[in-house]
């Protein structure tokens, strides 16, 4: 048990110790580290178990890992309504440096799911990532916002959830359980992710009918790999069901292992 406790240490870091992190130490053989960038909102809660499993799988490969929460999310300081895209980017840079300091490795890769992947891609230069693994990244902010708005509206009429239908006003300025600010909404609407300057693996597990930004130059530049079965990111009936994927863990660990 003492080995585990030393290997997975929770702590606060960053300016005013506002960010929660959990560092997974490793042996020194791989000389690599991976920063796990969480998605936002309910996706973050649904992926929590998977991120832990992925961290442990990477540690078994000798890779050091840092999991963390952006400001306004998870155990980090701030209210949910304080979530802000620019702050997420800044927090990712801070977290990458924290991982370098704790692991002693300068070579840091990033992994992210959905908006976590988008944040990792937007932070490549500032965080000096050696590579990115992006799992179903959000590349089209407008489509993503429209989907969340539609799911939020449908929530009010969900007879499985509520005894009586709720007014739209009760669900306003929220996305699936989380208060959101007008500025975050606009930031995601304006989302634009540049073509990566480092190697990128795009893991695609969207359902066949899900909209894809296929013409995006970022997608063209990436090595793409499909994962089965499709991940039910947008299924309202599974809104509170954890997302687990052994194929995802295998794909990421293999990629990091083989990364030069």
């Amino acid at each position: 048990m003492s080995t585990r406790s030393e290997a997975e240490m929770p702590f606060y870091f960053g300016p005013e110790r506002a960010l929660f992190g959990l560092f997974h130490a490793s042996g020194t053989s791989a000389r690599k580290a991976v920063l796990l960038c969480p998605p936002l909102g309910q996706d973050q809660i649904r992926c929590h178990r998977l991120y832990r499993q992925l961290a442990q799988a990477l540690v078994a490969e000798g890779v050091a890992v840092l999991r963390f929460d952006y400001y306004g999310t998870g155990d980090s300081a701030g209210d949910s309504v304080d979530m802000d895209w620019q702050r997420c980017v800044a927090d990712t840079v801070v977290a990458a440096d924290e991982l370098r300091a704790r692991s002693g490795f300068d070579r840091v890769f990033a992994f992210g799911a959905r908006l976590g992947a988008s944040i990792a891609l937007a932070t490549v230069a500032q965080a000096r990532f050696a590579g990115v693994v992006a799992w179903d990244p959000v590349l089209d902010g407008r489509t993503y916002v429209a989907k969340l708005d539609a799911m939020q509206l449908a929530l009010c009429r969900d007879e499985q959830r509520f005894m009586v239908s709720r007014k739209a006003a009760d669900a306003a300025a929220q996305w699936l359980g989380f208060a959101i600010s007008a500025s975050l909404r606009q930031q995601i609407l304006d989302l634009h992710v540049d073509r990566p300057t480092v190697p990128m693996l795009l893991l695609d597990s969207l359902s066949p009918d899900a909209p894809r930004a296929l013409s995006n130059s970022l997608v063209d530049a990436a090595r793409t790999r499909s994962l089965q079965p499709p991940t039910p990111w947008d299924d309202p009936r599974r809104l509170e069901v954890a997302i687990l994927s052994h194929p995802l863990i295998q794909a990421v660990t293999q990629h990091v292992r083989e990364a030069a």
Binding site: M1, S5, E8, F11, L22, I45, D170, E240
Partner: protein, 276 residues
């Protein structure tokens, strides 16, 4: 200024939790421990537990939200124990940690759904527990429940016309829905448990939501389920009919937190010198 501290703790250093410690430290204040709701890690559904503990910190209560063995970021203790033994030992470890950090000797446990079940288990036997908040805890379909559920449906002709042709479809959909359930103890056992807790001086707060309408649909059902126990001055009950089981809407969450805060301040008031 950040007041929260992250800990790895427990008899096997296997548990992970976040302590919120009001400043300045207030000895003898009751500590509040929030337990996992289902398999959701310690932040709670839609971050409910973060909002709850921070609000209570601001009110002067030291808090701990943590993951039980094998949930969230916590590992197994490596012991050969039943789940009940694990939960009691884990909560005991949590009380020891919060006691060390905040100098409190008595604790209030808060749990939603399976968290309520965990809180119930510990509150039955641990003398350090001074109170408990059961959110969507044990409940039973009573005669009153069935009348309230079926009568309006039986008398609604338009519903019959609407439902009958699609009965097969509706029935198959329902069976595929995820179920929020607390494996029930027998009703008589829970009644006796509550009576035992009250005899030991515990304060109990039962807040149920409209999200468990499959087996609970009216404030009157507290009495129908638990009898005279709910009239005891140590028991408070509340039915938030509009809310769902996991408080997905921010307004509902705020109403729940208002209720919990009011109950705590009434039963375990924080005095000017910080004691309760």
């Amino acid at each position: 200024m950040m007041q929260e501290q992250a800990f790895r703790f427990g008899r096997a250093q296997h548990l992970v939790g976040i302590a919120g410690l009001p400043s300045p430290a207030a000895p003898a204040v009751v500590g509040v421990i929030v337990l996992n709701a289902g398999l959701v890690h310690r932040i709670g559904p839609f971050r409910l537990h973060v909002e709850m503990t921070r609000r209570l910190n601001a009110y002067g209560y030291p808090t701990l939200r943590f993951d039980l063995s094998t949930i969230g970021d916590s590992a197994s203790s490596g012991e050969s124990q039943t789940r009940k033994q694990q939960i009691c030992a884990d909560v005991g470890d949590a009380m020891n940690l919060l006691g060390e950090q905040a100098a409190c000797k008595r604790f209030v446990l808060i749990g939603l759904c399976s968290g309520s079940q965990s809180a119930h288990m510990v509150a039955c036997s641990d003398p350090k527990v001074a109170g408990a908040v059961f959110l969507d805890g044990y409940a039973y379909r009573t005669l009153g429940y069935r009348l309230r559920y079926y009568l309006p449906r039986l008398l609604d002709i338009s519903r019959w016309l609407r439902v009958l042709p699609g009965r097969r479809q509706a029935s198959s959909n329902a069976s595929n829905e995820p179920a929020f359930t607390v494996a029930p103890l027998p009703q008589a056992v829970v009644r006796a448990d509550f009576a035992g807790m009250l005899d030991r001086g515990l304060k109990l707060c039962l807040i149920y939501s409209g999200g468990i309408s499959r087996y609970f649909n009216h404030a009157r059902q507290f009495q129908e389920c638990f009898g005279r126990v709910v009239n005891h001055p140590g028991v408070s009950t509340g039915f938030l009919k509009e809310a769902d089981h996991t408080y997905i809407l921010t307004g509902d969450r705020n109403r729940l937190l208002d209720s919990v805060e009011r109950w705590l301040s009434r039963n375990f008031p924080v005095t000017a010198d910080g004691s309760s």
